[in-house]
Amino acid sequence: MKNYSGRSLKQFNMEKEHLKENYYVSGHTACAGCGQSMAVRIVMNTAGPNTIATNATGCLEVFSSKAPQSAFGVPWIHSLFENSAAIASGVEAALDQQGKKDKINVIAQAGDGGTADIGLQALSGMLERGHDVLFVCYDNEAYMNTGIQRSGLTPFSAHTTTSPSGKKSSGNPRPKKPVVEICAAHHIPYSATSSIANPKDIEIKVKKALQIKGPKYLQIHVPCPLGWRSESSLSIEIAKQAVNTGLYPIVEYEYGKLTKVRKIPSPKPVSEYLKLQGRFKHLLKNQEEIAAVQKVADKNIDYYGLK
């Protein structure tokens, strides 16, 4: 019968003055250097206390909500892997019926698997029905919580436990699923990418999205030291290189049209990004393999007009 109050950790940390306005607090069990955890804090603190958050199963849910504690200072609900968007749809409908919708933000959260794979149908339904919800995908590019298995958002050539590199394999054989465009194709008011490389960018985009009534999608690139086999201290640096090489284009779509991109006038070679991560280690001795990844970046630069 008990639902555990999300206040336990929050109240504890409230004593620390600098955490006063935090709606996602420390004390959770995320790994050191977890990009997702950093992004969640920015999203929650930007949205503020008048927010209800839903969550898909995954790393975030596991490391933030071990009973009887919760890191969330706003009302938060998790039930399953594939239904964060549908739960958010129900919450939004209830608030609308209660006449409270205009005062409360509804934010649906999921990882890349819960967004691009198992949760895509529910997400598409939420977008198509026009719910006033911001869906945030924390994209760490694999199923990290279950042991680093490949998802639809795993990048080309990345080694995961289900797309391993080997004598006959260069890792993941497919490029990332274009989820930001799939969402934009619903002609929703706002569909964008961001990255923990630029915390201010996340803040601006969350603010912008929450001012728009209707369905919004924000996909944030969040390095995972465990799954990417990278130094915890390098998470921000790695995220920056993903943007600077063109491998993670920072773009905004409004009503289906590409309206803004983050320009990279002199893109870095992809090796600058790859060499920081164990998941790409198998590529580094082979120039052809690196060239194949460079092609992905070049294609992005050309397709989105990043230069």
Binding site: M1, K2, N3, Y4, S5, G6, R7, P49, N50, T51, I52, T54, N55, E61, V62, S65, K66, A67, P68, S70, F72, G73, V74, P75, W76, I77, H78, S79, L80, E82, N83, A85, A86, I87, A88, S89, G90, V91, E92, A93, A94, L95, D96, Q97, Q98, I104, Q121, A122, S124, G125, E128, R129
Partner: protein, 391 residues
């Protein structure tokens, strides 16, 4: 008001009287008219609710999970494959203690695909933690929907309620039904006022990770609550009777069992057919009766045991089969009866095959003569694999 009305329409009227605030459903095959009627009520301004046309039954259940958690009375309905697709979410709705109302139009489960009635779908999710109550006729369906809200939303209960109605037989059949007045229903059922909800003024986290140190206690809590529901259902049944003048809400119904030597046990619409046969055979001097199970979850063990204690022969009719074992009701009841009572299990009415008066007569005959845990009734020998033919 008494009306000659289709079952789905009557159930939609009953749902409307309960003032749902959010409705989410998906028209999976097979479909009933319940949500269509509710949508029309909203379109005509006769029901103030949000209707969400979701993209799957999984999302239907997820939407009502979210809306109920946000503090709004929520409704969904489904059947068969739809219920199976929802099942993952239904475990969550129960585990998160949210009193969603669900109507299950009982139908067979694929394969082979079959849109007709049996009770395999609801039986398949009996372990989810939902309260399951079965209606014999359309009037009972209406009554159980109204009473079901009050049972599930009791602050001591806070569990989802599934009202099970036989597909086609009750959803598409027509009967004269008393649709109560809004005043009476309002008098019986107060607005939904949950002890907890998603509230920005009192932020709580729902659906946390429960590791081995806490998980067992959450299951224990549901089990203990369901034991309490065995007291709450008759209590709500009494209140229902006071206001509406019908004793349709309870755990079981005993039909001419007090002196019966042979008692059949069944759930749902087949009870109507069995009652007719009981009457006919009683007129011929046979001491026979029917025990109707209304509450399947929680299962009223003590009441069932008591109702059958004086019988010599018990014949249990299951419109389901736990393949590799027996019918669900048979297993449930056989385990609590003393050895001296002869208990027969019958599997009948699967995939919409009619349970005719002659079927019931065959069941009674076997009940008195034989002792089988799992006898399929009315098998078509011509369709059986050669090695399975009995004649």
């Amino acid at each position: 008001m008494r009306r000659f009305i289709e079952g789905s329409h009557a159930m939609a009227e009953a749902t409307k009287l309960c003032r749902p605030e959010v409705i989410a459903a998906y028209p999976i095959t097979p479909q009933t008219h319940i949500v269509e009627h509710l949508s029309q009520f909203i379109a005509d301004g006769n029901l103030n609710a949000k209707s969400i046309n979701v993209e799957s039954e999984h999302s239907a259940a997820s939407c009502v999970l979210g809306s109920q958690a946000a503090g709004s009375r929520s409704f969904t309905c489904t059947s068969s494959q739809g219920l199976i697709l929802m099942s993952e979410v239904l475990f969550c709705i129960a585990g998160m203690r949210l009193p969603v109302m669900l109507i299950c139009a009982n139908r067979a489960v694929s394969a082979p695909i079959n849109i007709w009635n049996d009770q395999q779908d609801s039986i398949a999710i009996r372990d989810a933690g939902l309260i399951q109550i079965y209606a014999e006729n359309i009037q009972e369906a209406v009554d159980l929907i109204i009473a079901g809200h009050k049972i599930g939303e009791n602050p001591k209960v806070m569990l989802p309620v599934m009202v099970c109605v036989d597909g086609f037989i009750l959803t598409h059949g027509m009967e004269v039904v008393d649709i109560p007045s809004q005043d009476k229903v309002d008098n019986f059922l107060p607005p939904y006022n949950p002890p907890y909800k998603l509230d920005i003024n009192n932020p709580m986290s729902f659906g946390l990770l429960g590791d081995p140190s806490v998980y067992t206690e959450t299951r224990y809590a549901i089990q203990k609550t369901l034991e309490d529901v065995l007291q709450i259902i008759p209590k709500v049944g009494g209140e229902f009777n006071d206001i509406f003048g019908r004793s349709s809400v309870g755990l079981i119904e005993e039909y001419k069992t007090s002196d019966a030597e042979t008692i059949l046990v069944a759930m749902g619409s087949v009870c109507g057919t069995i009652k007719d046969i009981v009457d006919i055979q009683r007129n011929k001097g046979k001491k026979i009766g029917l025990l109707k199970i209304i509450a399947y979850r929680p299962f009223p063990q003590a009441e069932v045991k008591k109702a059958l204690s004086q019988a010599k022969n018990v014949g249990i009719v299951d419109k389901n089969i736990s393949l590799g074992s027996n019918g669900a009701l048979y297993s449930e009841i056989k385990s609590i009866l003393p050895e001296k009572i002869k208990v027969n299990g019958f599997v009948a009415g699967l995939g919409g095959r009619d349970i005719k008066p002659s079927t019931v007569e065959k069941i009674i005959e076997s009940t008195e003569k034989e002792e089988n845990p799992c006898k399929f009734v009315d098998l078509n020998e011509e369709l059986l694999w050669k090695e399975f033919k009995t004649v």
